[in-house]
């Protein structure tokens, strides 16, 4: 495994979280600076709305502040922990919204426009971040469209394989195979970057 680069925004030093645990406000501020763009991007992708994403991030960071003591370096990298937390809360919110009868597709279009108008990577992003981003982007782009689509529906829209099969009007087995194959290919392609989301 590659050694984490101290300059990469996508790779947060676990000691930073240790300082946050002790109530270090500066450390918390740094944590926000390192992770907020990634988490906001993820939240916008899932929720399809900047406003909702901002609300969500507020909740997420407050939860991090409160529950940071729960974080254990043994559980994974800080970024993996933050991404998992953000994704879970966003999917929860998405489902809650779906149960209230909102249509996610409208906001999704809104999000596409937002992404185009985005000012670009945050100034804190390093060359290592760029390399990682491009590697993940290439790995995703390298998947057949059908596999990419199935993974994104599960990952960003929180759909189960059954729901994806219904949405795409495809047999369940086909959908499962697409996700398994896609994830396996991504694992092969991104093996050298594994430290980013490494759990232990």
């Amino acid at each position: 495994m590659d050694k984490p680069s101290p300059h990469a925004a996508s790779i947060i030093d676990p000691t930073l979280l240790a300082r946050v645990v002790k109530g270090d406000q500066q450390a918390f501020s740094q944590l926000y600076d390192h992770s907020s763009t990634l988490l906001f991007t993820l939240a916008v992708r899932i929720l399809g709305s900047r406003e909702e994403a901002a609300e969500l991030l507020q909740d997420v960071y407050l939860e991090v502040w409160r529950k940071v003591s729960r974080y254990d370096v043994g559980r994974g990298t800080p970024v993996a922990w933050l991404i998992t937390l953000t994704k879970s809360r966003a999917i929860d919110r998405l489902r809650a919204r779906a149960s209230r009868g909102y249509r996610a597709t409208n906001s999704q279009e809104d999000d596409t426009a937002a992404q185009v108008a985005d000012p670009g990577p945050s100034p804190l992003e390093t060359r290592a971040d760029e390399e990682l981003r491009s590697a993940v982007g290439a790995a995703m782009a390298g998947l057949p469209q059908s596999q990419q689509q199935a993974i994104e529906l599960a990952y960003y829209e929180g759909l189960s394989h059954t729901e994806i099969a219904a949405r795409l009007n495809q047999p369940l087995g086909t959908v499962k195979t697409r996700i398994k194959l896609g994830m396996s290919k991504l694992r092969e392609s991104l093996q050298q970057w594994g430290h980013h989301g490494e759990l232990q």
Partner: protein
């Protein structure tokens, strides 16, 4: 689900594509300590954590940081005061880590709900394991009971067969008993008949000796006594015809020894040159023998090795010229009562 099926579901779990039941099954499996699934999940989880990096980055509003910094308390606070925490649906992809690895930091009050959650989950998992064990045990027991039932049915069938056999044998035994009873009855009847015949013969002998008032020859008497002892000897009585209405006769014969014994009384004296002849009448008369009669005498006729007359319909005595004739020519003096 088998281990293979669970391991197969790991990539789907990391992508967040499993439904609730499958997710819980895999999480329970991970909690059971499956090293290989844990290891595979680590790799896929790492990949899943990278996926957002493929998105075009969007910077959050500048005001967001200030809001967050202002809203948070000066120090990390217990979870109980958390505002608007969304309802948790279930363990989300990746959160299994929380359960796999307990916090390193000393437990605070904020970790209590989590600890309770873990404890609950463990209880559910252990409960599930025991339920599974009990269910397996019950399945085993059920199959054992089924085997016992099958064996019982076989034994019952065998028992029924044995009962049937015993029933048949009892029936056969009862038939044999009945047959034996009949035979005994027949034997008793035969014995009674014999006794009766003996009594009749004795009476007849006494009567004859009284009427004849004469002593019969030794030999015919002995022969009569011998004949009377034979169980199957048949007795035929003869009565006088119009020629000799006072005459009577008594005939004994034994088909086994082919002996015939005739005793007659009150037959008229046979004139000179004539003789009485005894006939067994089948389809036609067959001569049995001849005898003579003196006045006032009883007559005996003992014939040995007679022709077979087991099926003779009647017996008769006629008066024939001396030496007898092959067929009766003279008048009938005695005739059996048919």
């Amino acid at each position: 689900m088998t281990h293979e099926e669970l391991e197969e579901s790991v990539p789907l779990y990391a992508a967040g594509a499993l439904n609730r039941t499958e997710r819980q099954a895999l999480e329970a499996h991970l909690l059971s300590g499956c090293v290989s699934c844990h290891s595979v999940l680590k790799e896929f989880q790492s990949v899943a954590a990278l996926l957002p990096l493929a998105l075009n980055p969007i910077a959050p509003p500048r005001s967001l940081k200030a809001t967050i910094m202002a809203e948070r308390n000066p120090a990390p606070i217990p979870a109980e005061t958390a505002p608007n925490e969304p309802a948790r649906q279930s363990l989300e992809p990746g959160e299994w880590m929380d359960h796999l690895f307990p916090p390193v930091a000393p437990a605070r009050s904020s970790s209590l709900p989590w600890a309770l959650g873990l404890a609950t989950f463990l209880i559910v998992a252990i409960g599930g394991y025991f339920a599974w064990t009990v269910s397996t045990q019950r399945a085993n027991d059920r199959s054992y009971i089924q085997q016992l039932e099958a064996s019982l049915q076989q034994q019952s069938a065998k028992l029924a067969d044995l009962h049937r056999e015993i029933g048949d044998q009892n029936k056969a035994l009862a038939e044999l008993r009945n047959e034996l009873k009949e035979r005994i009855q027949e034997a008793v009847q035969a014995k009674e008949q014999l006794a009766q015949r003996e009594a009749e013969l004795e009476e007849t002998r006494i009567l004859l000796s009284q009427r004849g008032n004469t002593r019969t020859g030794e030999t015919p008497q002995d022969e009569l006594a011998t004949l009377l002892r034979i169980p199957n000897a048949k007795a035929v009585s003869l009565t006088g015809s119009d020629m000799a209405k006072q005459a009577t006769g008594f005939l004994l014969y034994d088909s086994r020894t082919q002996k015939v014994w005739l005793y007659s009384v009150n037959l008229p004296e046979s004139p000179a040159g004539t003789t009485y002849q005894l006939w067994a009448i089948h389809d036609k008369p067959v001569s049995i023998g001849t005898f003579n009669m003196d006045s006032g005498k009883a007559a005996h006729l003992l014939v040995k090795k007679t022709p077979s007359f087991a099926d003779a319909k009647a017996f008769a005595v006629s008066l024939e010229p001396s030496g007898g004739r092959p067929q009766p020519t003279g008048p009938i003096y005695l005739l059996s009562q048919s």
